[in-house]
Symmetry: C2
Subunit: 176 residues, 2 copies
Amino acid sequence: MRVMGVDPGLTRCGLGAVEGRPGTPLTLVGVGVVRTGADEELGARLIGIEAGIEQWLDDVRPDAVAVERVFSQHNVRTVMGTAQAAGIAVLCAARRGLPVALHTPSEVKAAITGSGTADKKQIGAMVTRLLRLPEMPKPADAADALALAICHVWRGGAQSRLAEALARATRKDVRR
Amino acid sequence: MRVMGVDPGLTRCGLGAVEGRPGTPLTLVGVGVVRTGADEELGARLIGIEAGIEQWLDDVRPDAVAVERVFSQHNVRTVMGTAQAAGIAVLCAARRGLPVALHTPSEVKAAITGSGTADKKQIGAMVTRLLRLPEMPKPADAADALALAICHVWRGGAQSRLAEALARATRKDVRR
C-alpha cells in the first residue's frame, strides 16, 4: 500500500509518501515541500499548491492520500490558508478517484509515538527511525507529511485487521 | 463591468452576477446556489463546488470575481468547509486569469446598506431594490452573493475614480 501524506500550508505544504503494510517495515517513496511566496496573491498561491500536488500525485501514484484535519486554532490568518491548501489536496486526490483520509494531529502523534501530545522533534525522530533514514527529514512539514502517511498505513491496516476479525467472528456465528 | 460574487459554503455556495458601473443602474446577470450533500464525502463535495463554479464562470463570463473573506468564527466545522469552498472559488477564477477580490462581510454590508452591522434581511431588501427585482432572491446565500458583486462594482469604481483623480492631479503637476 502506497500512501501520500499532506501536511497542508500555503507557505510550506509538506508532502511525503511511504510504501508498506502493518507489521512489515515501511519504505520511503519520497518527501519534500511545495512552497509559495507570502507576497504572492492568494489565487497564484492556490494555483501553485494545486500544480505541486498534481505533480506529486503523477510521480508517486499513491493508492490513498492522508491529509491533516485542520482545526480553527492559533493564528486566524494562517488557519484559513491551511484549510484552503488542505481542501485543494482533498480535491486533487478525489478528482483522481483516490481514497482520502483526514487524520487529526493528535491521532498522528499517538500512532507514531504512542502519545497524542508528542512534540515535533519526537515525531521527526520516530519517522527517521521507522523509515531507517540517515537523517531527520527537513523542514518539519516534510517529516509531518511522512508521519501522516505512516499513520494512515497503520490505521488502515488496523481497520482491515478489525474488519477481518469481524468477518471471521461472523463466519463462526454462522457455523454455530 | 461584469462581476460574479461568491458567498462560499459547502452545503450552499451562493453565486450571483451583476453588470454595471458606479453611478449607473446595476443589472442582474444571474443568481443561484451550488449545493452539496452533508452526507457526501469531503472530496465529492469539493468536486461538486468546483464543477458548479466552473459552469457558472463559463455561463456568466465575468470580468472579475468577488469572494467573501472568511474568518475563523462560530462553528469550527462550518468555517473550515467555508474556507475550503472560498479557496476553490479563488482557484477557479485565478486559473482563468480573472482578478479576484476578497471583501469582508462588514465591508459588503457597509457598501450596500451604509451600516457594517446590517442584518441579512436588510441586505436582501437593498439587493432587491438596487437590482429592481420583483422579489428578494432566496436563499440568503444567493442574495449575499449579489451583495458581494454589487460591493465590488462600487468599490472597484471608487478605486478607478480615485486612480483617475490621481492621474489628473499628476498631469496637472507635470503641466505646472
